[in-house]
């Protein structure tokens, strides 16, 4: 099973691939928080100035996303030591990260298989998982996203989904 197209083979290649994915997802979350109502709502429910990191143990790569002092959701770079982080989501090792970022394994299954280590408040972590799911649904083609999330929302209107998808892609690439 699994989507076999993207398959970095060597360790540096894998690390580079995961770094790129983290960077992309981080910027996409920033974009989605401006364009998707559900993501907006999830962030509103999180504490003021909330930040979280997603990364790979033991030495990264990482990405940090959080709310700035005005409540705007921002991609905050790749150094988790440069700022306070309220919620850390760490993938146990590079192999597990590859499973996750080649979408062979969803976030929920990864945590069932003890591949994700959370430190922070559980309700916050669940909100972040929901945000990641929504962002993946926008970023990925349906056939891949179906593997990555527990339930693919086929009840979303395809027209507005594609409009928001376009906006998120543009914003992610431009970083706005």
């Amino acid at each position: 099973m699994g989507y076999q197209e993207i398959k970095p083979e060597t360790k540096p290649a894998k690390k580079a691939y995961v770094s790129l994915m983290l960077w992309f997802v981080g910027r996409a979350i920033q974009a989605a928080a401006k364009t998707d109502d559900q993501v907006k709502k999830e962030f509103e429910g999180l504490p003021d100035r909330f930040t979280f990191s997603l990364g790979v143990m033991p030495q990264g790569p990482y990405m940090i996303v959080g709310k700035d002092k005005n409540g705007a959701v921002k991609y905050m770079g790749s150094n988790p030591h440069a700022q306070k982080v309220d919620l850390q989501m760490n993938i146990k090792n590079l192999e597990a990260a590859i499973l996750l970022f080649t979408f062979q394994e969803g976030t929920a299954m990864a945590s069932c298989r003890d591949r994700l280590i959370l430190s922070g408040e559980v309700p916050d972590a669940l909100a972040v998982v929901r945000i990641l799911d929504i962002v993946e649904i926008y970023l990925l083609p349906e056939i891949v996203a179906k593997l990555a999330v527990k339930r693919y929302p086929k009840w979303w209107s395809p027209v507005s989904k594609n409009v928001v998808r376009g906006k998120i892609y543009i914003r992610t690439l431009l970083g706005i």
């Binding site: 929920a108 299954m109 945590s111 069932c112 298989r113 003890d114 430190s119 559980v122 309700p123 916050d124 972590a125 669940l126 909100a127 998982v129 929901r130 799911d133 179906k146 999330v149 527990k150 339930r151 693919y152 929302p153 086929k154 009840w155």
Partner: protein
């Protein structure tokens, strides 16, 4: 048979079970090199005369330190006070007699006395404990929570209004003693929901995402032990064999779910407990059929397999395969109705009929949105076969409030 690509399983608690299991405690303590245990329990257990039964059974053991002042919702102050008594009396081990609150308290005390800790908070979270604690023997007096084999303790800090969770294999007791005399006096209206909690542990362990072959084996036998005995014991509370079967079932269910986790029944149940203070087992009994119904399109094949331990070989064989999951759900609903009848209506079947001691409704309808919201933040949701958003939560909670089966056309499939 389901075999995951990867799983972890650990349960290293010695189980001693029988009608005269208590009599082994002196040997068990000696094996652990323990000479002066502190006995921790609560007023309910003491009031039911169980402490006399234990002290009588453990002749020769120093029983001078017995503390029965653990409240039903234990807290940091209690833990600190008991740890002080342990130190003042030069104790070297703990025997906990009670339900979940007593066991969590004993685990908390054990952290403080073993680590000589000033501040229990330092050891909260996962992985903060790095070495074995003092010997801990637990005697469960309810057949439900499975705390005797779980590696978690939850302790509230009422001053700061927070609950701290502690997770470590070092929190596992050394021994769990299951003796039928310990649950014999549990009143039927408490026996029913606590056993339904245990049944829920086993059913969710078997049907949720982190299942594995070892937890499956425990869950399957736990279900048949509980399903075969729950109604009988509630009707005939002094049925010793039935009591022992429920105790074994609850412990096995505890071992299963502490390794493969639970799902939405617990997510919503924890939330109803937090928002409306409904006892945990009562929530489990009500929600279990709804959880299975909601997940039917995902885990129906597993629910179908559970018809065998739930209803026995004859019913299983007589039910066509495609109807077995629905039949399993029906068996659980019938169980709740039978428990309602056997307790003269004290076992609630749906949320709107739960009353507190003054006859006041415990779950008013206007609390349902708050329950749904809190449930969305419960960790066990990750392990549920199907995803849930706020609207899904409301559909399930409203049906469980009204006491009507789930309208399956409202379940969103991916």
């Amino acid at each position: 048979m389901f075999l995951p690509d990867y799983y972890e399983y650990c349960c290293r608690v010695k189980i001693v079970a029988g009608h005269n299991a208590l009599e082994n405690i002196p040997d068990l303590l000696a094996d652990l090199n323990a000479k002066k245990p502190m006995f921790i329990t609560d007023k309910g257990v003491a009031g039911a005369g169980l402490i006399e039964i234990v002290t009588e059974a453990v002749k020769g053991v120093d029983t001078s330190v017995i503390e029965d002042d653990v409240p039903p919702d234990s807290d940091l102050r209690v833990v600190n006070r008991l740890a002080g008594i342990y130190k003042d009396n030069g104790c070297d081990s703990i025997v906990a007699i009670g339900g979940g609150s007593v066991m969590d308290t004993a685990k908390g005390v054990n952290i403080i006395v073993s680590e000589d800790a000033e501040d229990l908070m330092k050891f909260s979270g996962a992985g903060a404990l790095t070495r074995p604690l003092r010997p801990l023997i637990v005697l469960p007096t309810t057949a439900g929570t499975g705390s005797e084999v779980t590696l978690v303790a939850v302790i509230a800090d009422k001053e700061k209004n927070i609950k701290m969770a502690f997770t470590s294999y070092f929190l596992l007791p050394n021994v769990a003693v299951l003796d039928s005399r310990m649950t014999l006096t549990l009143p039927p209206f408490i026996t029913a929901p606590t056993a339904m909690d245990a049944l829920t542990h086993a059913v969710e362990a078997y049907t949720c995402l982190a299942k594995n072959p070892i937890s499956d084996a425990h869950a399957g036998i736990a279900i048949s032990l509980i399903a075969n005995n729950i109604i009988n014991v509630v009707k005939n509370p002094s049925d010793q064999n039935g009591r022992l079967a429920l105790a074994n079932g609850a412990t096995m269910a505890g071992a299963a779910f502490s390794n493969s986790m639970v799902g939405m029944v617990h997510s919503i149940g924890h939330s109803v407990g937090a928002v409306c203070h409904v006892p945990h087992g009562v929530c489990m009994a009500i929600l279990l059929p709804y959880g299975l119904e909601y997940n039917l399109h995902r885990s129906g094949h597993l629910t179908a397999e559970l018809l065998l331990p739930l209803a026995g070989a004859e019913v299983y064989a007589a039910t066509p395969p495609e109807q077995r999951a629905d039949k399993a759900i029906e068996v659980i609903r019938t169980m709740n109705q039978d428990l309602y009848d056997a307790t003269s209506g004290r076992h609630a079947r749906f949320f709107s009929e739960i009353k507190d001691r003054d006859g006041k409704q415990m779950v008013p309808e206007d609390k349902l949105p708050a329950i749904a919201k809190t449930a969305l933040g419960d960790g066990s949701l990750l392990y549920n076969p199907e995803d849930m958003d706020y609207d899904d939560m409301m559909v399930v909670i409203k049906a469980a409030w009204d006491g009507v089966p789930l309208d399956r056309s409202l379940i969103k499939r991916g």
